[in-house]
Amino acid sequence: MNVLVCVKRVPLTGGKIVLTDDQRAISTRHLGFTISPHEECGCEEAVRLIEQHGGTSTVLTLGPPEAEEQLRDMMAIGIDNAIHLVSDGPEEWDPQATATAIVAAIQQAPEPYDLILFGNESADAGNYQVAIRVAHKLGLPVVTGIKGIAVQDGTLRLEQEVAGGRDVYEVPMPAVVTVKEGINLPRYPSVPGRLRAKRKPLDASSPARPEPRLEMVKLVLPPGSGKQAEVLGDGPQAAPAVVTVLTELGLV
């Protein structure tokens, strides 16, 4: 099977987010980068599917030149090829522009994809829509929030977690699926994997950026909770004070 996974380069934040002076981005001075957790699992899933069923996998990103790092990271865990849609500068594209660029790349692919994977939503923007837009433009079925994928005779059996259990969808390939973290535990790359990734094929191009229709004006840090934690004590001696609170809350 021929699998495509779409990922997005995002910063690895700590306990505190700091904005740039123009408030249009997160200050990444001290930060490393990764891809969104859902997408990481998507890449792992792609590698597993190919291990199981044979075929080829490709990872794609729309991002700045530095995003090649993320593509190589995913090739290090076993993805075969990469497509880099290079955006000029770090400002992110809005969901419609992103979807348009991805669709164009998919349509130019030499072989059609059987399965196109996305993360359910990106860790930073959380727009929840690129996959669905891509599917619409390609006329493909799309299922979201998937925590289990099985392939049989050209059909995908997909499991989605809901309250009380799992909903099952069965769709024919080709299809677009968004996955959620928890579908698998991604592997760490091996050293040989990393070294091979450097030599794997990467196709780069620079699509033109359309005007944003969901236009970011600025970023704002949410107000703090304003809470002042009541210190119940230090170490195990605090236990009685804790139990007093638990009792007040009606839990003991």
């Binding site: 690895l12 700091v18 001075r29 001290h30 760490y188 091996s190 050293v191 040989p192 990393r194 070294l195």
Partner: protein, 840 residues
Amino acid sequence: MGLGNGARNQKIVVIGAGIVGNSLAYHLTQLGVTDLTLIDKGPLPNPGGSTGHASNFIFPVDHSKEMTSLTLESMRQYKDLDVFIESGGIEIARTEERMQELTRRMAAAKSWGIEPVHLLDPDEIKDLVPYIDERLVLGGFYTPGAGVVDSLQAGTIMRERALEAGMTVQANTEVLGIDVERGRFRRLRTTRGDIEADLLVIACGCWSPRIARMAGASIPLTPMVHQMIDIGPAPRFANTTKLIEYPIVRDMDTNMYERQEGTGLEIGSYAHRPITLQPDDIPSIEESALSPTELPFTQNDFDPQMEQALELMPEIVGDESVGVKYAINGVLSVTYDGMPLLGETPEVKGLWSAAAIWIKEGPGAGKTVAELIVHGDSEIDVFESNIARAYSCQRTRTHVVDRASEGFNKMYGIVHPGEQWASDRNVRLAPFYDRERDLGAVFYEGAAWERPQWYESNAPLLEEYGDRINRREAEWDSRWWSPIINAEHLAMRDRVAMIDLSAFAIFDVTGPGALETVQNVAMRQMNVPIGRVVYTPLLTPSGGFKQDLTIMRLADDTFRVVTGGAFGMSDLKWFADHLPDDGSAQVHDETNAWTTLGLWGPRARDVLESITSDDVSHEGMPFARCKTIEVGPVQVLASRISYVGDLGWELYVPFEQGARLWDIVAEAGAPHGIVPAGIGVYGTTGRLEKCYRAYGAELEGDFNVVEAGMAWGKVKDEDFIGKEAHVRHREEEPAAVMCTLTVDDHTSASGVKRYMLGKEPILTREGQPLTDRKGRRSYVTSAGAGPSIGKHILMSYLPPEHAVVGAELGVEYMGERYPVTVATNDSTPVFDPDNARIRS
């Protein structure tokens, strides 16, 4: 300067709760300090500094005696705290050049008394490290005593002990400012309020420069990146019960190390491009994904290392099931010269530094700084780490970054003892510089000065002296050296030489209390007539050597101190710290006001008499006298002493007139066959033939005056630093005796003649190391040619039973033993033993 016993009663604050701060705090309380506060901006037990993640293995053997001493002491403490796991460590060689270097490591181990150590062949390495591809390896240097430590745990235990002894700890407390009044630390301002104290120690690792700057002081280090990754779990380590069961491997030629860490393998690198950071580049704790000193990994910088690790340990690194679980650009502190920064800052009294110290020296440095604070002296002499040593141009950010970067990729490098820095040269230039350059001077750097080591224009001397010049056949021995040095030496001894001595540090002690000051600091009698030059040791409180230098009495209350450039600034601070409390004396740094030209050789007086009408005859100007003379248009302070052991003078002239003096001397000397001679003569050949001891080589805190063979005359009645100890030393049998030896036969097994360069172990003829009753090994403190006597000269402390003229011993060099013989066992020179030349 320590506060003496008074320190116990004073209030001390330490900033930084990493391995250094914790150890320092513990040792301060052990020494009786009761009012102590430890502060860190981070949480405990892991405030987020380098201690929290740094690679924690220790290889004890180092070429530096001082680093080795600090490391051995640290290992002792780690073992005491039960946090040391002995795993052994192997430095592997992939090249022949490295194999030679490993024999030097073996020799260093012998010189410092670290044993057992072995040289292994590839099969033996494979036995110990089965997952290595031994076909890539030519051999290895094995230290079974190497191991890993839990430095976080060690620091925690030490901190808890200090707490039990009454220390206060304030975590999560950030320093906002430091108040200095009248040049003395007064107050610390923090996010939790102000703290007034008597003494403040900055033990903040990579943040230290930022903190010091708040007080107007400098701590010349830079944070740098050192990459490390953890891969695992490795099938071979799956059933491991210990953190480490296999020896640590240092792959020296690739600047990498690999070591087991539980079920995984840690791979570290010093091979990548040097990445320096500003202390302000280090993120806060909240901003960091992991910690402020575990920065995001830059994959590109590590790629070549992955290949090399894969090549060396394919079983583990090439296993597809072994994942890269952790990868960081770790942050550590690096200085401009590779040595730590310890002691009171010269800029602010009461402000101390305990910075640029790695895990392997941490506890040792903590104890040492505690001793310096409380006693003003320490068991381990850390003169090379004294923060006061830096000149202003060495404290600059540019210099620190340039040298730290240049030194970074040499971490596991093969560094020749004479190797010169390449970056940031030509900063301090003598007024003679252009003339020297035109004479083909090969410039070496000393105390940031460009000094001619020898002059290519003297090449014709090689022919003149023919066979009397020994050539060195082996490449290593002749690297950073030239036979021209020996030729200059012979020309000086035959005729006369002029030598650039501009690197001297010079300072004047003045005022009504000047005599009292120098009398207290110097061992020798300083109440001498005006115009007398006194060569004197300075002692530490425990009677070891703090320095040796000359002091000229220029007036009743003016004494001019002249000392070597290397530790000139440390010496300046020593004098400044010992000025009388009543302000009756001052010390002024006159280094930049004067330049010095040395003029020595049998024809030196001929030359000088031809350019001055002042009386410089032997009667008119005996040895060890100084006076101002006129040389043409220039007034010169002439000092009749000689570090090269020949007739002559040090000529001091105002800096801006130096070039003129040079020209006058050169012209006057021409008919006498004057040659310019470099530091190769001044620092090595000249003084070795006279068996003159040098500070930093023969003379250091470890050895006392009697052992050094310098206890001439009687002890002066006046008090001086170290007097009590010195008197005691005179009453004891010395544990070791400074001797001068000559090499009998230089021929190696392959027929090539080899020439020792220094620090080699002295052994019995049968190859047994020599150890004195204080446990100190005999090693070559200085080595070099003695062209006038046609011998290669080595100096070494020997246990008394071997310190016998004619005793037959051995020296180990590059893995082979060469016969040596004791030539003198006191300060009697091997050349001109009656000192007739100097006194002519």
